[in-house]
Symmetry: C2
Subunit: 282 residues, 2 copies
């Protein structure tokens, strides 16, 4: 778990939740095989004893997930507000307590029902709020660094290698992965890293955000809110993901695997110092 | 679009939305390439002029998506309630009008804030409602049929092949694909097919549901609500997806690609009549 700040104490009242379980499956030959599958469990987030949301999660770092969610959805704006986070897997809950009451909670909750893409989109209204204030630095990235990072990322994705059915996200600096988390929900993985960065007071300006997931609108928005100017994905990009990256000035790199990648925005911020033979392959 | 029922008239006030757009990307050799990327646009659903949710969607079949969402989330229980669906891409909205006012809408909306896994899970409380009433037939599936279906599915996934970054879902009967839809949100794709089946009054008992996405809890729940006893995926399965399939009696087949698949539940409902040489490979 992330280190507590002077502001915050954590109380974790239940044991670590397992990330995979052993099951058997029958393959196309009729053979019965031992397999691991990813755990998935509900985690209901409470803010000052008010239930806010139930997330379906792998449950790797529930405190960071709860905090990242509350921050990204605008429930908590200042870390100094935070008094404690209490996770209890016995009742699948994460209770967040703040020093002052969060204002307009009722109003906020009623508004959420309007714009929440329930399990399908995102809390769009809230998530978009404050985007205009975001000023990201212009990054400078070497292709050789990108390749080094992609090599190092191969050492992660443990649950994916073991059980599949999860997405991974990494907070990276140069070739190094500072933090990596997997979840059955790709948004949970992003929120978990956002919560960690927030707690550590870590700057995003010198970071690269890696995800195995697709670069859709909310992925770009959340990374921008983390102050990170480079977004790197093994998967593809959507129209709104690209438009938001252009608007926010995020270098957007998709299909990054091995030595291949596609820069959809910000190619001028990359030093192509390790260019393989011109293949022109997409 | 799906055929209107005697109950329902559709008014679509705006042109079809494009599914992909042309952009340029720079690859690892520095070459500038022409690429297609998947469109992603917000669609705000209104029920009797009350905004309910904003979905981020590819927008292939917005009317079916809007109806499937309303049905799966329990906003509309009887098709006879439905008066019209009005989609207007000029304002990214889908307005659903019912004959009678839907009761307790305020109560329902306030409840949603408690259980909605916003963009990360699903509207769990509502979605789980009525699961106990579901009685699915025991399916009977030939391995040869499964292989035929997987071959036929290769002819679909158009947007994926063209632009990536989307999930595909298919409503299948034997080797035939009755309906196939893609979306940037895998839940949207499921809801779209659910909406179509509902409008057509189509039974699920003789169908197979195919998805490129992972078999998580809400995917299994939605397919059960469609009355479909077989769920087939190119991807993996999570713990809750498996537990729900066991509870609901759904034959759960994952990692289905080419001649390979893994049956996680209901292997006894499959006739292994095309078994390749025993490889025992997982």
């Amino acid at each position: 778990m992330t280190a507590a700040t002077p502001h915050t104490r954590f109380i974790k009242t239940s044991a670590e939740a397992p990330l995979t379980i052993a099951v058997t499956a029958v393959d196309e030959t009729g053979a019965v095989l031992d397999k691991q599958i990813a755990c998935e469990r509900p985690l209901t987030l409470y803010l000052n004893w008010r239930p806010i949301v139930t997330l379906m999660t792998l449950g790797a770092r529930p405190e960071a997930l709860a905090l990242g969610y509350m921050k990204n959805q605008g429930f908590i704006k200042d870390l100094a507000q935070l008094e404690s986070v209490i996770v209890d897997w016995a009742v699948n809950s994460a209770a967040i307590i703040t020093r002052e009451q969060t204002e307009d909670l009722d109003k906020k909750l009623s508004e959420k029902t309007v714009t929440t893409g329930c399990g399908q989109g995102t809390v769009y209204g809230d998530l978009m709020a404050g985007l205009d204030d975001i000023k990201l630095p212009v990054p400078s990235l070497k292709q050789s660094t990108l390749y080094g990072l992609l090599r190092n990322i191969n050492d992660y994705n443990d649950t994916y290698k073991n059980a599949g059915a999860v997405h991974g996200c990494g907070l990276c600096e140069g070739e190094q992965i500072r933090s990596f988390v997997e979840d059955v929900g790709r948004h949970n993985a992003v929120d978990t890293l956002a919560g960690e960065m927030w707690l550590k007071g870590e700057a995003g300006s010198d970071k690269i955000f890696y995800t195995t997931g697709r670069l859709t609108s909310e992925m770009v928005i959340k990374v921008a809110k983390m102050g990170i100017p480079v977004l790197l994905s093994r998967s593809g990009v959507t129209q709104m993901g690209l438009e938001l990256a252009q608007q926010l000035g995020i270098t957007l790199i998709a299909r990054a695997k091995g030595r291949h990648f596609l820069v959809y925005h910000g190619a001028e911020t990359i030093d192509f110092n390790a260019t393989p033979g011109k293949t022109g392959q997409g």
